[in-house]
Symmetry: C2
Subunit: 327 residues, 2 copies
């Protein structure tokens, strides 16, 4: 089959059109003709050789896709050839075909295109995992979402609103903040104007937030703890600006009963991913069918232009997902 | 009423017999004639002025007691004068009388003395909170318990065994390790012989543990993270040997999906404490009635010798609880 392959590890230019063996289809798997896939920051790391795929996963990039079922494993009840689906993948999305455990397939509603479907799995399941499983999100809670205009950020804002909770966001441009407010964030902070902690305290009448979703890492660590209220949880999804923290006060954690939670979706078991997908579908798909939650797409590239799409993501200009059309 | 009072903040000698106003008894409270109370490390800190009681709590030391109900609030169904109980307190245990919300009272089985009853609430509820609510303990999991021979340590070892899980402990003497093994620990490490991390890995076939219960703090921090397996949780209950950590790697937390959880029982809401007490009673009291879980008492002092009891706790020689008989 055709696939986006790599001539080695490095910058966006190592991506090229090539071929790869067709995926193996087990009895509990669906084989999908991929129509669209989407970029994730993990793809950039993997392309540079900094994030090896987990054992057993494809070497091909791509952690999600949307497409049409072309083969149904013997033990996949309820699925038919021709069904439109999207799903998380452990890798292998930048390809003509992908195999996925049937329990991880999400049925695409009629109102969504394949491009929109490909923009759902990673960001929405990551946001769901971190907000609900790890963050304990319930109605009435306050959440600070860093990188609010990112893929996960835009998904989180919408899930938080659907849960009856409140989100505050940080972002790197006025335009990004505006978009986040449209999606349901209560207020946004332009981080180039200074530290966010005083602003969060002012916004919350000095109460602070119950959950922080962070992708930034070390430079935000101290402020993140500072804005958490009692029993608050700092969910560390990424460490884009640094991993080494030189000043953790365990006594402060105790006194405020704080939790610091490191998290990753890709390395979780298939059983976890199936359970997560099912819970997410039950919670979010009614909203997605009504249009009250929608994947946020920044741009769509043809997969032959994958290197251009990667360079664009590296410029940090996108609001929402960057999608590849698999033609 | 009579009570152990303080002539000021400082060493054990500030403790003296004195008097204090009788506690207020609300409609949902029981008034208890205290027969025994017990020491906690928090008492030592409070005596030194380093741990002020939470707002509304008594200035008198004492976070737990056992005794006989002498007055029943109008809204306390199911309780009678003469009932034998033990309970957590927000303070005020070193006194002739204590008032406690009825939902926090634990009925003492006939096979337990008041001295034994006073040795239950703080250590067993702390262990239950941290193992089950925060640690997610289930059958088959591995737990590392530091200070295994401490009050919370000996309670944790027994709860872990009752849950069908496995405990490894560290302690500061051969005698303490022996006692922990008798209580159900699988193996123990004499910490004066060197770092515990290599030993834990060897004991667990390099798999590591699911939960670490730590009281030591900063000096153990790096090793604690090192011995946690994927999805492992470090529960920080105390920071006896230091609070400042200078080398936290957030990337390591992410890759291994680790959680660092700061915890405290005393500052939790009454609603939390009632729910915790009820869950603990349902899980543990059948074991306590059968004698398969038992409070571990190191020594009993008359309350007139409270300063001697405090000095003894400061020497770190005790195995299990130090109890005060309230005569």
């Amino acid at each position: 089959m055709k696939a986006v392959t790599m001539s080695g590890f490095g910058g966006p230019d190592v991506l090229e059109m090539g071929t790869a063996p067709n995926p193996h289809v087990g009895d509990t798997d669906l084989l999908v003709r991929v129509h669209a896939t989407a970029l994730n920051r993990a793809d950039l790391l993997q392309r540079r050789g900094l994030y090896p795929p987990p054992p057993g996963a494809s070497d091909i990039l791509g952690l999600e896709m949307a497409g049409e079922v072309v083969q149904v494993g013997a033990q996949c009840e309820g699925w038919s050839v021709g069904d439109r689906v999207c799903a998380l993948l452990p890798g292998g999305g930048y390809a003509e075909y992908a195999a996925v455990p049937a329990g991880m397939a999400i049925r695409l509603p009629n109102n969504l295109s394949y491009e929109q479907g490909a923009a759902i799995p990673e960001v929405f399941l990551t946001a769901y995992l971190n907000l609900f499983w790890l963050g304990g999100l319930t109605a009435g809670k306050n959440v600070l979402v860093h990188a609010g205009a990112s893929g996960v950020g835009t998904a989180a804002i919408q899930l938080i609103r659907a849960a009856g909770a409140t989100s505050y966001i940080t972002a790197g441009s006025r335009e990004k903040i505006e978009r986040c407010l449209e999606l349901g964030a209560k207020a946004g902070w332009y981080y180039k104007e200074g530290p966010f902690a005083p602003w969060v305290k002012e916004q919350t009448n000095n109460e602070g937030v119950d959950i922080v979703l962070d992708f930034v890492g070390a430079p935000y660590f101290e402020q993140n703890l500072e804005v958490l209220r009692t029993d608050g949880r700092l969910i560390v999804i990424g460490t884009m600006a640094g991993t080494k923290v030189a000043n953790l006060d365990l006594g402060y954690l105790l006194r405020n009963r704080l939790q610091i939670i490191g998290t990753a979706l890709r390395s979780r078991s298939v059983e976890d991913k199936i359970r997560l997908t099912q819970e997410f579908v039950a919670f979010a798909m009614p909203h997605i069918e009504k249009g009250t939650i929608a994947p946020v797409i920044d741009s769509v590239f043809d997969w032959a232009e994958a290197s251009k799409a990667h360079a664009y993501m590296e410029s940090n200009a996108n609001i929402g997902k960057i999608v590849l059309r698999v033609s």
